[in-house]
Amino acid sequence: MADVIRCEAVGLQYVRGDGPEVLHDLSFGVPEGGFRWLLGPSGAGKTSLLRLLYLAVRPSRGRLEILGTEIAGVKRRALPGLRRRIGVVFQDFRLLAHLSAFDNVALPLRIAGRPEGQIRADVTEMLRWVGLSAKTASRPPELSGGEQQRVAIARAVIARPDLLVADEPTGNLDEAQAERLMQLLQEMNRLGTTVLVATHNEGLVRRHPARTLRLSHGRLIADGGVG
């Protein structure tokens, strides 16, 4: 089975040339339909790795392949199409405060130019799935942290991405909501989406054992094991 993510000696510098390297010589692969926990202490480079994976930055060196496309050499105009196949749950949600929960979730579909009728049906169903049917017209500032996180998750999965990356998706959720989210992610994974979740929640990892990538000081110190 082809790898959805393939890293070979990948390094990342935010400032090209003299800047410090925040990721060093990362080499790993995640096959299609795979599930990975991304673990490591704060400052280990988890968010930087996720930024590479959702194409916010390009690697400074090495070879990074996402969804079969080599990222370093790909033309800039090819990236938006690739990004639409990647769902992202940001640690800070990154919702648009002036839009309703409905419009926030609908955003990826509208950007992709889907018909409005289909958008309405899909978004309504998705908001029902994450338990926010009663909050469709609410704007993010009117929602609790947990509700905002669920909107962010709904937005990440609404377009049925091939790859889903999530940065601390349970950070603002209580245990019950975190479990519900895990069921959602596992359901996506069962349907074929490759999932990579960065978390500090060791309890969650223990309850949902899966292969783990462990980072420390920008280096991959473990790729394997379960939980």
Binding site: R77, L96, L107
Partner: protein, 317 residues
């Protein structure tokens, strides 16, 4: 029940507001300052355009006048001379001179038209001793003007020969210069309008930096984001420009009214009977060009916003 239905309607309206504004540009590119600045630019452009059209009309008027490259004035035209009146003698000499295609004495009405700007429409009733004016059209290089003038003065003393050539050339140059200045003013106004749109767009980009980053990360293309800005900038520039053009219209009609006597018109007639005459005081090219100003402003808004946003987006991966 009614309250429930109202709540449902309100919620539905909030779900899909008209003109989905994902980047929040209605606030970032406000509907006050930019349209007002574009309105002011358009007002200036309308004045410059009027100058351009007026200079073109003057140049054409003078060029047409230059076809009669020579004017001969005959004081006391009815006085006696060899073989008839002084006027007839001058005409006979002119028609018999090689290099002259045509010599025609202006009628009293044509003379009155010429003098109307200075003496009013009742010039003939003032009993002024007006000279006869003979329009002379030359052929080829024309005759030796100095020798012709000498012959005419000897035959009919007091006759004045005036060549238009030099003055027409000078006036044409002046008109062309005025046209060029007006054209330059139009270009400057367009450049300033583009700068105003660019500054407003950059301010909008700075204000909506985070939202742009979000839609970019969700797979929005540069064209999608630039299109959002361009649509807003086009709308604001078009509306502002339409306001400016409408504001300029009465001013231009007033100027046309002031210029009407010099163009041989009777000035503005009083509405309601003369409303069409009032509007017709403005030359046709201006009527065609004025609606073009909002369209041009919209185009400037679209192009400037597209270029500004696309250049800015290059910093994102």
């Amino acid at each position: 029940m009614a309250e429930l239905a109202e709540l449902r309607d309100r919620r539905s309206a909030r779900l899909r507001p008209g003109g989905f504004d994902d980047l929040g540009l209605r606030r970032a590119l406000g509907d006050r300052l930019l349209p007002l600045l574009v309105a002011a630019m358009t007002f200036l452009a309308a004045l410059a355009l009027t100058g351009f059209v007026a200079a073109a009309a003057l140049a054409r008027h003078w060029r047409e006048g230059a076809e009669s490259a020579l004017t001969v004035q005959v004081p006391q035209p009815g006085g006696p001379a060899d073989q008839g009146t002084r006027r007839e003698r001058v005409l006979a000499i002119l028609r018999g001179t090689p290099g002259i295609a045509q010599a025609r004495a202006l009628s009293d009405e044509a003379l009155s038209d010429l003098l109307r700007p200075w003496l009013g429409s009742e010039a003939q009733s003032l009993a002024l001793p007006l000279p006869a004016v003979v329009e002379v059209h030359l052929s080829g290089d024309g005759p030796d003007l100095r020798a012709l003038a000498q012959r005419l003065t000897q035959a009919v003393p007091g006759t004045l020969v005036e060549s238009h050539g030099v003055w027409v050339a000078r006036l044409s140059t002046l008109a062309r210069s005025l046209q060029a200045c007006a054209g330059l003013a139009l270009l400057v106004v367009a450049a300033v309008a583009a700068s105003v749109v660019a500054v407003a767009t950059r301010a909008g980009l700075a204000a909506r930096r985070e939202a742009i980053g979000i839609v970019h990360s969700l797979g929005a293309t540069d064209g999608y984001i630039a299109g959002r800005f361009a649509r807003r900038a086009t709308l604001l520039a078009f509306l502002g420009s339409a306001l400016g053009a409408l504001t300029a219209l009465p001013v231009l009609l007033g100027l046309a009214d002031l210029a009407a006597p010099f163009a041989g018109l009777q000035g503005i007639a009083e509405p309601p009977n003369g409303v069409w005459a009032w509007l017709a005081a403005l030359p046709l090219p201006l009527w065609l060009a004025l609606p073009g100003l909002p369209l041009a402003a919209g185009a400037i808004g679209w192009l400037t916003a597209q270029a500004t946003v696309r250049r800015w987006l290059r910093r994102l991966s």
